[in-house]
């Protein structure tokens, strides 16, 4: 006798409580496959072991094994012991009565009893049918012997026993025919070929994997299969199986004969519904269930491949596991109202060595569906997406599945799609993301700020982190400059392989207040919350404050209330408390305002004097066309500001920073307009305005772009005749992105208005620390244009008033705090025993 997979050791036994004394409900599961066993796991996870005594019937004598992994077993890549999910011991340890190898014959729903082939009668309170599917054997002359058994040498490909039998046969067989060019057939063909058999694949449909792929992708897959040396015969039926005692070949409808000594029939599966039919339950294509997986009998449920829900029967594991979750919620009372509303099926697999991922539909169905196809037959790559109403409704990836993580997210959750649709299928950036996360070596560094590798991130996922946020908290990945966040997200999604909790916190503006930004702003106005401590008291769970939320709330309150905001120093980051940028040794940098990068000899002289007087270790010209005095002790700040007599340049804040300019038309022989003055005017108007992340601007007098306006949060380019182009969402920092042209406008005032309106829209709608280069693509340029240029949402007047409120609230922080400290000890050293600066003096 063949070994039982996942068997118990001899001599172990199980103690059973006397049935009569057991107060628990009786839960009986018919079927011990992927659905049934997962359901039992889900029930146990919800404490159902206390509520129910559980009996599981399994047709096969084995424990529960991973049917999906039969292909690698057949290929000799996995050992059968590796695919055991739950051994007999597991059932025993969890007090589950496993009746392995016992087929259920019928259910008496009136008496609520299960009748099994061994003559046993098992009463139930709740019955779950998870009987799965069986291999469909198409009608062919000679495929069965007189006793109804398959002709020797003919195998289905559904169970471990069939797999074992085929493996055994590979030793003595030389020629195989595989019927069925779906996933299973292809896997079988590949596996048998790997054992040295000559393999012919016969498929009744015009192209391979016709259920998942379109004709073109199917044709590309055919080439890949043929390149492996497998013969492919499409659009043809086998009518007869030849051989009397053992298979000798098959006869095709077109008259051809294919000789073989092994025939695998993988021509699809059919739901196992005979128990349900015999028990009088409603069966159409499969057992009909409602949104709680209930059949027409209120105490009988069906899950997995044997269930038909809203007309759909699924042949994939993911829906079966969803069924299991929902039903476990319902039966254990964890969520009595839980409902299953259907699955959006997305699958990713490797078939005959080719990566395939499919989700949703594979061809456009409506006139206005968008359809993008990239086909490279020579490389064996075929990629397509179908988009409807700006949402991804289908994707097919063959030969290259690097983008599968993003596409799955977009498909499952309706995530916003990139404006340039081609980015759904290929990475156009030059960055590290171009390498698919799957291909990245584990030791490659993802977060350079905190030294976090791909392996660290995968380790966190394996260690139980169930969301991107948790992984970031655990590993600190993405918590530095933040430029790797999207890569971190991709890796987490890849590592979790779809098993990722939606992170509700991902939509919060700050982690400590469970609200997205618009809701938070409404609540702040509604409750008239003018200080950060008031926000925590009113809106945080338990009124608890949160250090990591304070800076973002301060910024938001300043924007909402302007000068009516009630400042709280402790809610500010140290940079904002002392109006300088903290350096690695705890000293600060001092950057005086220098509008448009224009200075004077007098200003330079004063800066030079101050630098000498305070022994500033380094004087440096910044990237924003200003002068930076670095390594200043905290206690020296007020006196320095006083000596400088210049306003703060805001080089430290999440705020409007600076406007770079070129020399424009005054001096440059190419200049088309006075970019210098416009830059100065912009900086004068918008100086110091706080924002979700820093805003860097530039104005150039011609498209030569000397001050780099194309890569600024707001960039303005003179194009002559008083006209200016306004670009938004550009960056040349941790990310490099050319800004998008928002509009070409006439005259300086129009630039000021539009720039202000965009900045206010960004301030009101961007997430905390979201730079414009992420914000603009997220919202979409077309939408931003409609809102800002055509006033499609009727908010332009409010935006203009909002930015004006902040302009009016501006005060120079240096002028203010230099006279009198805002709080006691505002400028006291934080490391009094450390001689600062520790940085080298140049």
């Amino acid at each position: 006798m063949r070994a039982v997979l996942g068997a118990r050791l001899a001599g172990t036994s199980t103690l059973h409580l006397d049935d009569e004394l057991d107060p628990r409900g009786r839960l009986v599961v018919v079927g011990n496959g992927m659905a049934g066993a997962r359901f039992v796991e889900e029930v146990l996870e919800r404490g159902g072991g206390e509520q129910f005594r559980i009996t599981v019937f399994g047709d096969e004598p084995h424990g529960n094994y991973n049917r999906i992994m039969l292909s690698p077993v057949l290929a000799g890549e996995s050992h059968e012991d590796d695919i055991v999910l739950n051994s007999h011991d597991w059932y025993c340890d969890n007090g589950i009565d496993l009746r392995a190898g016992v087929r259920v014959e019928r259910v008496d729903t009136a008496a609520k009893q299960v009748h099994a082939a061994d003559g046993s009668v098992t009463p139930y309170d709740h019955l779950v049918l998870a009987t799965g599917s069986y291999s469909f054997i198409p009608p062919m002359a000679g495929v069965r012997r007189d006793d109804g058994e398959l002709l020797p040498g003919v195998y289905g490909f559904r169970t471990i026993d069939e797999t074992r039998a085929m493996l055994e046969a590979t030793g003595r067989c030389t020629r195989a025919v595989v019927m069925g060019g779906g996933l299973l057939g292809l896997e079988a063909a590949r596996a048998l070929q790997g054992h040295g058999l000559q393999v012919e694949l016969v498929h009744a449909m015009p192209w391979l994997m016709n259920a998942q792929l379109d004709a073109e992708a199917g044709a590309i897959l055919k080439r890949s299969v043929e390149e492996l040396g497998i013969g492919v015969h499409l659009d043809v039926l086998a009518t007869e199986v030849l051989g009397s005692d053992h298979v000798e070949g098959v006869l095709l409808k077109d008259g051809r004969r294919l000789d073989c000594d092994l025939l695998v029939v993988a021509a699809g599966v059919r739901p196992h519904t005979d128990v349900a039919v015999r028990s009088g339950l409603e069966v159409e294509r499969a057992i009909v269930v409602d949104d709680q997986l209930r059949t027409d009998d209120p105490d009988v449920y069906a899950i997995g491949e044997c269930a038909q829900h809203r007309g759909s029967v699924y042949g994939l594991v993911a829906p079966a596991w969803e069924h299991a979750r929902v039903l476990a919620d319902v039966l254990t009372g964890t969520d009595p109202g839980a409902e299953y509303t259907g699955s959006r099926t997305a699958t990713k697999l490797k078939v005959v060595g080719v990566d395939v991922a499919v989700m949703g539909i594979n061809t456009p169905e409506r006139d206005d569906d968008e359809f993008l196809v990239i086909s490279e037959p020579r490389r064996g790559v075929h990629l397509s997406v179908v988009i409807r109403d700006d949402k991804l409704v289908g994707a097919t990836l063959l030969g290259d599945t690097r983008k599968v993580a993003f596409l799955t997210q977009a498909f499952d959750r309706g995530a916003p799609l990139p404006e340039e649709r081609i980015r759904l299928l290929v990475d156009l950036s030059d960055g590290v993301e171009e390498v698919g996360v799957a291909d990245m070596p584990a030791d490659s560094q993802v977060c350079n700020c905190n030294g976090v590798s791909k392996g660290d991130i995968c380790g966190a996922v394996a260690g139980g982190c169930g969301s991107v946020g948790e992984v970031m908290d655990r590993t600190r990945a993405g918590k530095g400059c933040g430029s790797c966040k999207s890569l971190v997200k991709q890796i987490v999604e890849w590592a979790a392989d779809g098993d990722l909790a939606e992170d509700p916190a991902a939509s919060y503006y700050v982690p400590g207040i469970p609200m997205p930004k618009p809701e938070l702003m409404r609540a702040i106005r509604e409750h008239d919350l003018r200080s950060v401590s008031a926000v925590f008291a009113a809106l945080a769970p338990g009124g608890k404050d949160d250090a990591r939320s304070k800076m973002g709330l301060t910024s938001l309150l300043k924007m909402v209330w302007g000068s009516d905001y009630i400042p709280e120093k402790d809610a500010e980051f140290i940079n904002d408390r002392v109006h300088g940028n903290i350096q690695r040794d705890g000293t600060f940098s001092v950057v005086p305002q220098m509008k448009g990068g224009v200075t004077t000899p007098a200003q330079l002289r004063r800066i030079a004097d101050v630098a000498e007087k305070y022994e500033v270790p380094m004087v440096k010209v910044t990237g924003g066309q200003r002068i930076d005095l670095l390594g200043v002790r905290k206690e020296d700040l007020p006196a320095m500001w006083n000596d400088l007599g210049m306003p703060s340049g805001y080089a430290y804040g999440k705020s409007f920073r600076t406007v770079k300019t070129c020399v424009g038309s005054d001096f440059c022989r190419f200049g088309l307009d006075d970019s210098t003055q416009l830059g100065i005017d912009l900086e004068t108007r918008f100086q110091g305005i706080e924002s979700p992340a820093k805003m860097k601007l530039a104005v150039v007098g011609c498209p030569r772009n000397c001050a780099e306006a194309y890569v600024k949060d707001v960039g303005v380019v003179a194009v002559g005749n008083g006209r200016w182009e306004v670009y938004i969402g550009g960056a040349a920092g941790a990310s490099v992105r050319k800004g998008d042209l928002l509009a070409t406008v006439e005259g300086r005032d129009a630039v000021m208005t539009l720039a202000g309106r965009f900045m206010q829209y960004y301030r009101e709608n961007a997430n905390w620390l979201e730079r414009t280069y992420d914000f603009v693509p997220r919202i979409g340029l077309e939408r931003i244009k409609a809102v800002l240029l055509e006033d499609s949402e009727g908010i332009c007047a409010d935006l203009d008033a909002g930015i004006q409120r902040s302009v009016d609230a501006y005060t120079d922080p240096w002028g203010q705090d230099a006279k009198e400290a805002a709080t006691p000890g505002q400028f006291r050293p934080a490391l009094p025993l450390v001689a600062l600066p520790k940085v080298p003096v140049r």
Partner: protein, 108 residues
């Protein structure tokens, strides 16, 4: 807390409670050692070593909540309860601190 209790403890008066604004931290020197003292908005007092164990950052310049102190340089967070880092750094030393008649008393 009575004066008698103070006499039995090894407390050092480092400054006045009013020296530390609500929600913020200030550094004092106690027994030749730098100690960062924090006064939370709910009234509790906490004291830690002044320099962050990760990269020497000035912890008194950090931000706080009822659970943790966050260093301003790289945002490493440390629990008040035991000084442990929530993000895998070495722990900070925490010192008992209390108010006695408006004075800040730290046990070092």
């Amino acid at each position: 807390m009575s004066v008698a209790d103070v006499a039995t403890a090894t407390g050092v008066v480092v400054g006045r409670v009013d020296d530390v604004p609500p929600g913020e931290g200030r550094t004092f020197v106690a027994g030749g050692e730098q100690v960062a003292v924090f006064r939370l908005r709910e009234g509790s007092l906490h004291a830690t070593q002044a320099a962050c164990p990760h990269a020497g950052g000035p912890l008194a310049d950090g931000q706080t909540d009822v659970d943790v102190l966050v260093c301003p340089l790289h945002q490493y967070a440390y629990r008040w309860s035991d000084g442990a880092s929530t993000s895998g750094a070495a722990p900070v030393r925490v010192f008992p601190v209390r108010e006695v008649d408006g004075d800040l008393v730290v046990d070092v």
